[in-house]
Symmetry: C2
Subunit: 330 residues, 2 copies
């Protein structure tokens, strides 16, 4: 990578990506993921060039706890779609991958079919950085994928921290995979995630688990109906499927398509995407501003003592906040 900036030809990159040349696409993604400032500048030039060619894919997020069978599901769904003539890109947002060595997609062999499918492109999560950084790279990789002609982008997330929120903010449709559990308990419903989902699928509805999965789906549908604010344009359906056996995937995809059609009919798709972009601009402004605050030497040296004083009731939170801001502004 040392000499990469010197030798990068943005025109050639742009042409290669637009032509769907896979090695160039891979290099362009590496450029977008790089955290070197000279790379960052080049990456932004490339992205501005490609933006007019982006936006044509159906962007679908997939989430669910570890063990729910996301990789198998994405592998099977993606293969179904490429067999149907689609070109499918699979990306991931996993801010934990730098520590864990990649809990999702780090090992492409977990998507054994898509990994060797000429009409698919599987890219692991960037393995370094904060959620904000990882999400930025994934969003910008999506631009490259769309410019390269992929018409379906599946963005997988393992659901660490706020990563579902980040993924929901970059896709058209957010698909939540869950499992049936013994009795009445559903697995893996994380705080806030139900408010983001557009389609729910109870996975591993195969063999002896099918009845449980059906019951879980009915209960979850009832609960969603009860708890979600009513939307005029869409009510999230709850289905069952089996990534392993490939059962029900066509029905899941049919609902994902129906969701998009409903958004388009209501004129909400373009608006949703535009809002996502503007929100993301502001999110980046906020993230960087608060990042500066967190890493400010004065703030770092003062904060622990002030936290302790606030905890002990020796100072009000308001006064402590004022002190921190005073040292930050210098």
């Amino acid at each position: 990578m040392e000499d990469m900036a010197r030798t990068i030809d943005i025109d050639a990159y742009a042409e290669g990506v637009l032509a769907g040349h896979r090695p160039t696409l891979a290099r362009a993604i590496t450029l977008v993921e790089s955290r070197r400032s000279d790379h960052a500048e080049l990456a932004q030039r490339l992205l501005v060039r490609l933006l007019p060619h982006s936006g044509k894919a159906h962007r679908v997020g997939v989430t669910g706890v570890p063990g729910v069978g996301k990789s198998t599901f994405v592998d099977a769904l993606g293969s179904m779609l490429t067999a149907d003539g689609h070109r499918v890109a699979v990306l991931a947002v996993d801010p934990s991958s730098s520590r864990s060595g990649g809990s999702i997609l780090g090992d492409k062999t977990r998507m054994s079919r898509l990994a060797v499918d000429p009409n698919a492109f599987v890219r692991p999560s960037p393995t370094a950085g904060t959620l904000g950084g990882v999400a930025r790279a994934t969003r910008e990789t999506m631009v490259l994928m769309e410019a390269a002609g992929f018409d379906v982008v599946l963005v997988e997330t393992v659901g660490v921290g706020q990563s579902e929120v980040a993924v929901a903010a970059m896709v058209d449709c957010f698909l939540f995979l869950t499992l049936a559990r013994t009795g009445d308990q559903l697995q893996g419903i994380k705080k806030g995630v139900l408010e983001l989902v557009d389609v729910v699928a109870v996975n591993k509805a195969d063999g002896p688990h099918e009845t449980d999965a059906r019951r879980a789906a009915r209960e979850l549908a009832r609960a969603l109906h009860l708890l979600r604010p009513v939307s005029p344009s869409w009510t999230p359906p709850v289905l069952t499927c089996s990534g392993l056996e490939g059962a029900g995937l066509d029905a899941v995809w049919e609902r994902v398509r129906a969701h998009r059609a409903a958004l388009e009919e209501a004129g909400e798709l373009a608006e949703r995407r535009n809002r996502q972009q503007v929100d993301w601009m502001w999110a980046q402004v906020r993230d960087r501003l608060l990042g500066r605050l967190r890493t400010d030497p004065g703030v770092r040296s003062l904060a622990p003592g002030l936290e302790e004083a606030v905890r002990a009731g020796r100072v009000t939170a308001t006064l402590a906040a004022e002190e921190l801001l005073a040292v930050f502004w210098g």
Copy 2:
């Protein structure tokens, strides 16, 4: 108010509050609510004096959509508590009150019994400012109330914007009031609120509505059980009650007390309160920093054009964010 700062004697204020002298308490609250910088400084001096005398009340938040009967409920619950020997303060967080002229508590006559109860103190929401400002004043008023010997603080919120989040972050127990609706639909479940609640009560369970309320409570309990992450120390109960008839209020309060006992037993109460204070310090730092960003003249003149460019795909969100930060840092 013009000469207030000149004539304010913080020692006298502190003594008056500690003695439970109602006119002084009212003046101290007005000082805390004031947005004049000289008042703010005096208020912080007063609060630092009183902090060691605070923290002894049971702090309970009450939320629910307009029409759910919050004022009647709080009036009845508070009266039950004062009859039982408690001293009850009623505060509010309603950032809309400056516009609406006070949609809750603005008119004390909506709490006709508590308003004239010598063992209660009803204070309307501050009527000016952002949610952050209103929440700050309410939190700091809570310190005054506790120093004045009130052992129950009820904080009502109308649930505009993020006000439930703000109230949940300042209380020991968050009580959610809802209504039964025809059939299977519950009213007023707002995004994210279920994750904050500790106790749920279906209100207006009186006369012909009682059966519906009971059924709604059962359904909601099932849904909560299904959807909430399991906590080892507490499962939010769902009750029915009637603020109007006073029915079921003792049972609701019994669950509020049981919740506190469970937190104490698990050693979580002190930790929750300490964390609330430290979180609040950081929230104030963030709010003020982002406030400066929003009001920065350079940012304000640049932002609309950049938003439009991002929307139209002429510039990446990342580049636009960099431009905004560059003009902000100057």
